[in-house]
Amino acid sequence: MISRIKQLLTRKPAEQTLHSSEIETAPLQNILVDTDKLTPTHKPELLLESQRLELPQFIIGCGHSVGKQRDHNEDALFTLTTNLIADDTQIPFGLYIIADGMGGHQHGEIASSVAVRTLASVVVQKIYLSFMGLSESQNEESIQEILQEGVIQAHHEINTKAEGGGTTLTAALIMGDMMTIAHVGDSRAYILYSDGIRETLTHDHTLVKRLEELGQITADEAAVHPQRNVLYRALGQGEPFHPDIATFPLPHSCHLLICSDGLWGVVPEKHLLRLVNAAANPQQACQSLTDAANNAGGPDNITVILVRLPD
């Protein structure tokens, strides 16, 4: 995880030369900015008029498909994107969550739904409302603590509402210039750049991945290992546990992709990247991603959230 974040950190965001207050209007639809043209030789005035008119905002798409071989969908997702522009500052806020339930007899469905709802409501109540509010009182708890609390609360809710059920949970919380990822299980979050570089933000909590890391089995063996679905960490299963939580600067000019293994386990990563870059917008990209997984047999439920992060 450390080396991955290190790589992320080396990508410096584009120079921010403008205060949002200088911008009077902004088109609502996404304008694709050609980053190659944003060289230092261009004057800021030029950027203001021709290229930087848009407010930096998130454009999102999502996809949810039962696949071709299952009769019900045990995945769940949640998205929330807002912007606060006031007092000379502009603070975008985004919350994106995916859960991949398991456990049969509808327990998987309940588990993933409970997980997504619980975490979303904890974040909205404890972070979003206090953040957008006017009150002087500040949270004593940190964002990481609140996310952890949300995940643990979801874990307990599953134990009562869907006993025996379990779920993965991968969430990205973006506030201002920082992004925090909370993660349990084997759903994944990626950062995809248009130049073909991709970073995996999450670490699969699977036994097979662990054996592969330990050099006990090869990547090829892992791909066909009979226990490749065995998680060593999942919500609703086993106690105690800590979710992986990490905060780092929000990358720019790229896509954030969160998906269940029904997508990443079926469509090779380089194809994910190609499909995202080929699509006109995130909504279209999500359609082609779910299509690709279904065309490859659709063995599992497919869930995807794609967020275009501003330049």
């Binding site: 708890e141 920082m178 060593y232």
Partner: protein, 632 residues
């Protein structure tokens, strides 16, 4: 009795059936003999009760009743489970070892089976771990380990078939009122786990790698014992970590008081490959005894941590030392071959860095506790005499002084031709570096001892009532964060995040844009040390005596190193070393990735400031009045 913690998920049973297990109420009598008193624990399979044996009417004979609910609906499976239960109960009933509770009786009734066991009055090791503040002493853990090896040796040598305990972990080890260990919760409950769904949890933290293949051998118990000892010695719960990752949490990195010998025994038990572990509990017991002999563990009172460190410490030699007339509590500045450092004798000294030769001194009317700054040939520093002094770096002659209304403990920071400095008069002052005239100041409402941190057009600084301010270069507040107690530590900015320690024991990571808390890390006591950031780590010191290394993005503790007194100065990184002083009088050099001690250099006073390194030489002051230069 310990709880049965396994959760069972029958693959083919509807929900309603799992809910049938209602607990026995106090007052209920089982088979006309066992009067239920109350629940001791609840597990996935049923409950454990304390009960009175009515066959002894004149005395109060207490027993433990372990109840297991048979959830199989298929009559054949149901009967197989009962059959297996009775077979195992028969084996356990024959066991005779002081660390194994006696089984008095067993019976099945409808969907439930019961074991009547010796009642153990005591506490399990998980509870003991949770309650203990620091690390458990090695001698204590070794004595438990010897008893555990003894009981495993007994079980593994039962004929015709060895008994595998299968579930060695702190919560299954009880410490009775005599201080001896008892193994509870034998694998008998496992026979009740029918049709467990396999897509979920594969491993628990204490289980060996081969268990995912379904193998249970005596060597699996050896591994789990190793995992248990690792947890006992490090206080790190393996269930919170990836499986088989003990090698990534080296025992002595986490708890340096543990002997090399003990560490090596635990890691032999934890070998990934079963053939590389101790081949029997007996062998492991011998190794434990040998290591205890070598370290003399049982010959002395176990307070070894300080001596261990001294033994390990290599030596560093002083290049020169220079004596002032009073204590040095501040930090030196190196600039252009000269070392500048303040002393409680009211002077700022300029010394030749290479030789320690005196160049000049400049007298103020109060002690100098901060670190000087330099700009355009001048040296800037504050004094207890309430003034910011600007003197010529070459001659030590005064250029100007700037008066505040309180002693100055904050260090000056130069940015854009201005000096930023806090004062006990509750203002942050911004002064033109050349003219010595105030550009602006901001009222912080309480003493400002923290050194300001400037990033682009933001100024971050703390005050003594716990506010951390972000002001713009016009002095207007952008945001204010409130800690519970003083922020004396100086904030540090890195990649959109401001880090600052507080006397409220927390190291805070705040979103530089909003002041929102991203994470916080709790230490044992207050921190006034300025954090140091390198790679993906934050390093800081605490009044709880430790130097901490914390992962920058996840706030996880990577290691901590205990000195013998408070750490109030700040760590610095040089090549692959971390260097930090302690009030115990020593300056420490640690490997920064692991926290392992490279060497320590003792002085006769406390080291409260931060060292500086230039030309492979380390400079720092001590309250023994000396400035030291050490070649590293």
């Amino acid at each position: 009795m310990a709880l049965e913690t396994q959760r069972i998920t029958p693959a083919d049973e509807p929900v309603a059936d799992k809910r049938q297990a209602e607990h026995l109420q106090p007052g209920v009598t089982l088979v006309n003999r066992y009067l239920i008193q109350g629940i001791v624990g609840i597990g996935g399979m049923g409950a454990v009760y304390s009960a009175r044996d009515l066959h002894f009417p004149n005395v109060f004979k207490r027993v433990a009743v372990k109840e297991m609910v048979n959830m199989a609906r298929d009559p054949t499976i149901h009967d197989t489970i009962v059959h297996n239960f009775e077979r195992e109960a028969n084996i356990l009933a024959t066991l005779d070892h002081p660390s194994i509770p006696r089984i008095y009786d067993y019976f099945s009734h409808e969907q439930r089976s019961y074991l009547i066991l010796e009642f153990i009055d005591g506490k399990d090791l998980e509870a003991i771990l949770n309650e203990s503040e620091g690390f458990l002493p090695e001698a204590q853990v070794v004595s438990w380990a010897l008893e555990l090896c003894d009981v495993l040796n007994y079980l593994h040598n039962i004929r015709p078939q060895p008994v595998i305990f299968r579930d060695m972990k702190p919560s299954n080890i009880m410490l009775n009122t005599h201080g001896h260990i008892m193994l509870v919760d034998f694998g008998i409950a496992k026979t009740f786990q029918t049709g467990q769904k396999g897509t979920m949890i594969g491993t628990e933290g204490y289980s060996p790698p081969e268990q995912y293949k379904g193998e249970a051998t005596p060597l699996a118990d050896i591994y789990s014992l190793g995992a248990t000892l690792h947890h006992l010695l490090t206080q790190r719960d393996p269930r919170l970590e990836p499986p088989f990752s003990f090698g990534e949490r080296m025992i002595r990195t986490i708890n340096p008081a543990v002997s090399v010998e003990m560490e090596s025994v635990v890691y032999t038990a934890l070998q990934y490959n079963p053939t590389e572990r101790f081949q029997s509990a007996k062998k492991m017991q011998e190794a434990l005894l040998n290591s205890a002999k070598k370290t003399g563990l049982f010959n002395e009172v176990p307070t070894a941590s300080a001596t261990v460190k001294t033994d390990l410490a290599g030596s560093a030699k002083a290049l020169w030392k220079f004596e002032c007339e009073d204590e040095i509590r501040g930090s030196p500045l190196y600039h252009d071959g000269i070392l500048y450092i303040g002393s409680y004798d009211n002077n700022l000294y300029a010394l030749q860095a290479a030789t320690g030769e005196f160049a000049w001194k400049y007298a103020t009317d109060g002690g100098v506790v901060s670190r000087p700054a330099t700009y355009e040939g001048n040296i800037y520093f504050g004094s207890e005499d309430k003034r910011l002094h600007c003197v010529s770096a070459r001659s030590g002659k005064v250029v100007w002084t700037y008066q505040t209304n309180g002693p100055i403990r904050s260090s000056p920071v130069v940015s854009d031709g201005h000096i930023f400095i806090g004062s006990d008069d509750a203002f942050l002052h911004v002064i033109n570096a050349l003219s010595g005239r105030r550009a602006w100041r901001v009222d912080a409402g309480a003493q400002v001892r923290s050194t300001p941190c400037i990033h682009i057009d933001n100024v971050f600084f703390g005050n003594e009532v716990g506010d951390l301010f972000c002001v713009n270069l016009g002095g207007n507040t952008r945001w204010r964060f409130k800690a519970k107690r003083a922020i004396t530590s100086s904030p540090i900015y890195s990649d959109g995040v401001v880090f600052a320690g507080s006397v409220d024991t927390m190291l805070y990571a705040l979103d530089a844009k909003t002041g929102y808390i991203l994470w916080r890390f709790r230490m044992g006591r207050a921190t006034i040390s300025t954090p140091c950031i390198f790679e993906n780590y934050v390093f800081t010191g605490s009044v709880d005596n430790n130097i901490y290394c914390i992962e920058l993005h996840s706030a996880k503790e990577v290691w901590s190193f205990a000195t013998d007194n408070q750490v109030t100065g700040s760590p610095i990184i040089y090549k692959d070393s971390l260097i930090c002083g302690s009030v115990d009088g020593s300056i420490y050099c640690l490997e920064y990735r692991t926290g392992r001690l490279r060497w320590r250099f003792p002085t006769r006073g406390a080291i409260t400031g931060t060292a500086v390194i230039a030309n492979e030489t380390l400079y720092f002051g001590s309250t023994d009045h000396f400035v030291y230069a050490i070649v590293i």
